[in-house]
């Protein structure tokens, strides 16, 4: 087993006014791994990423988040980013009124990068090079997602966290983005991937967790999750239980709950 990069232990977190979202979640991302976090809407996937990055003030309520053995609880998001975690947030977190180039230049606050590195990132996304002077808000959805990932890469993270990178994109663009993720992982960057698109996520991932209503209900290597009848029924949409009359369960049975 390779070393742990990110370790989340018994984390309970929520928002103000007593809304508890995560009820004791533990997960690990190891060196070189792509880990997929699956779950339906409202399960707490994004909250988990936000908790790791310190985006929710005073959270986690309980438990501990460590990155290479360093405790992240209570640190500011910018400090966590400078430690080497990069989150591509839901909604991409671009600055719509800044140009593509300025969006990339902001990375300069976290770390100095050379011209060669900047060019290498742009070579990965040739579309962006053509649009350096355009305002980020005028890019198409796929281009915006690429800019968001490009910015994260320029941070040269030791862990990349992505929140729904496929959201609202055409299947072709989704495939493109996933192939970029795969090639990043081949270069050794561990990735924690939150996805609704379980099929794609389990194709690139080595390991997966299923989150439901703030609790982890299933974890295992990706191939085993792909075979799991519950995952197939609930997240991959493969139908089991053919009934003699062709009836279908209105609500799939959860066997882990």
């Amino acid at each position: 087993m390779t070393a742990e990069v990110l370790s989340v232990r018994n984390v309970e977190a929520g928002y103000r006014k007593g809304l508890v979202v995560l009820r004791g979640v533990s997960l690990q991302v190891r060196e070189g791994q792509v880990v997929a976090l699956l779950g339906s809407n409202g399960a707490g996937k994004s909250t988990l990423l936000r908790t790791v990055m310190g985006l929710i003030p005073d959270q986690p309520e309980k438990g501990e988040v460590t990155f290479r053995g360093v405790r992240l609880n209570g640190k500011d998001p910018d400090a966590i980013t400078r430690m080497g975690l990069a989150l591509v947030p839901e909604g991409r977190g671009l600055f719509p009124e800044l140009t593509v180039e300025e969006n990339l230049q902001l990375v300069g606050y976290a770390r100095r990068y050379g011209r060669a590195e900047y060019d290498a990132v742009l070579d990965r996304f040739p579309v962006l090079r053509e649009r350096l002077w355009q305002q980020a808000g005028t890019l198409s959805g796929g281009e915006q997602q690429m800019l968001a990932i490009a910015r994260a890469l320029l941070l040269r993270p030791s862990l990349l966290l992505l929140d729904e990178p496929s959201l609202g994109l055409a299947p072709r663009v989704v495939a493109q983005i996933f192939s970029i993720l795969e090639s990043l992982n081949r270069e050794g960057i561990p990735i924690l991937l939150v996805e609704q698109n379980a099929r794609m996520a389990l194709q690139v991932a080595h390991y997966g967790y299923v989150l439901e209503a703030g609790r982890l209900v299933l974890e295992g290597p990706a191939e085993r999750l792909r075979e799991d009848p519950n995952v197939q029924e609930l997240y991959l949409g493969i139908q089991r239980e053919p009934s003699p009359k062709g009836f279908r369960r209105w609500r799939p049975r959860r066997r882990w709950a």
Binding site: L55, D76, D78, T81, F95, E102, L106, G108, Y109, A110
Partner: protein, 291 residues
């Protein structure tokens, strides 16, 4: 015609001061969504700092710079110690916080320096004048206009051309995303507050020689600057400058041709008229609320 030009010259000089005040207010509103009602008192405090320096026999340059730095430091400290901790609060509670701080500051100034008016020594005189054709421009008026324009240009260079300016714009648009790129949003905002405080103090120092220094000196210019900010659009730095200059011109021309008495009223009439037609201000962006 000469008379009109004279009014225009006076109006532009007053307007450039309003523009400086408005710039500070807009800068803070854009970056931190806080309407800073303590802006005027912070500016006055900066002038008092400079005044103290001058009475101790410091040279002009040092005293004025000291005043600017003092106002900047107090402004940044105010953000760090009072505004940031209540960041999760509503817009209203932030406004109350700044109002409270304004009262606190004016109290401190009354306590330390007293309420009597003071003559603020200044290298530019109000009495020595330049004559351009028939137009008479005092050294102070010319100086205010020049310094105002230089500061406006400097601020625009800061925001548009520097790394700090880029971070300011990023934090203004999306503070969370800025932090996720490793931009220390808290420090950037503190720097923004410092810049705004220094701008206000600069306006105060240009004003003090003309109106005498007392703890409530900036009340009227602050209201005018605020009006200029609303007029130009709270979100737009060029708007703040345009708003300030328009307000200064309108006041001066109105005072010359119609009535000096209603000069202050006029500025608010202008604002109401503009806002009726363009609620977002002259150069502001129309706000859309998504349902």
């Amino acid at each position: 015609m000469t008379l009109l030009l004279q009014y225009v010259a006076n109006g532009l000089a007053a307007g450039s001061l309003y523009a400086l005040v408005a710039l500070g207010i807009v800068l803070l509103y854009r970056c931190s969504r806080v309407l800073n009602f303590a802006h005027g008192d912070l500016a006055t405090l900066g002038v008092f700092f400079a005044f103290s320096g001058l009475t101790r026999g410091w040279p002009y340059g040092l005293a004025l710079l000291g005043g600017l730095a003092g106002a900047a430091a107090v402004s940044a400290a105010f953000y760090r110690l009072l505004i940031k901790p209540v960041r999760q609060a509503t817009a209203l509670s932030l406004v109350i916080t700044t109002l409270g701080f304004a009262l606190f500051l004016s109290g401190v100034m009354v306590w330390v320096w007293g309420t009597d008016t003071k003559v603020f020594p200044f290298p530019l005189s109000e009495v020595r004048v330049f004559r351009l054709g028939g137009v008479v421009v005092s050294e102070l008026t010319a100086g205010s206009l020049a310094v105002g324009l230089v500061l406006v240009a400097g601020l625009s260079a800061l925001v548009q051309r520097t790394r700090l300016g880029l971070a300011m714009r990023a934090v203004a648009q999306n503070p969370v995303a800025a932090q996720l790129l490793g931009v220390p949003a808290g420090q950037v905002l503190a720097a923004t507050w410092a810049v705004a405080g220094a701008l206000g103090a600069a306006a105060g120092m240009l004003l003090a020689p003309a109106v005498l220094l007392d703890p409530f000196m900036m009340l009227d210019p602050f209201l005018k600057g605020f009006a200029a900010a609303v007029l130009g659009g709270m979100d737009s730095l060029p708007g703040a400058v345009a708003g300030g200059l328009i307000l200064g011109l309108a006041e001066s021309v109105f005072a010359g041709y119609v009535s000096v008495k209603y000069k202050a009223t006029l500025s608010f009439v202008v604002i109401v008229a503009v806002l009726l037609v363009r609620p977002e201000g002259l150069l502001g962006r129309p706000f859309h609320r998504r349902v």
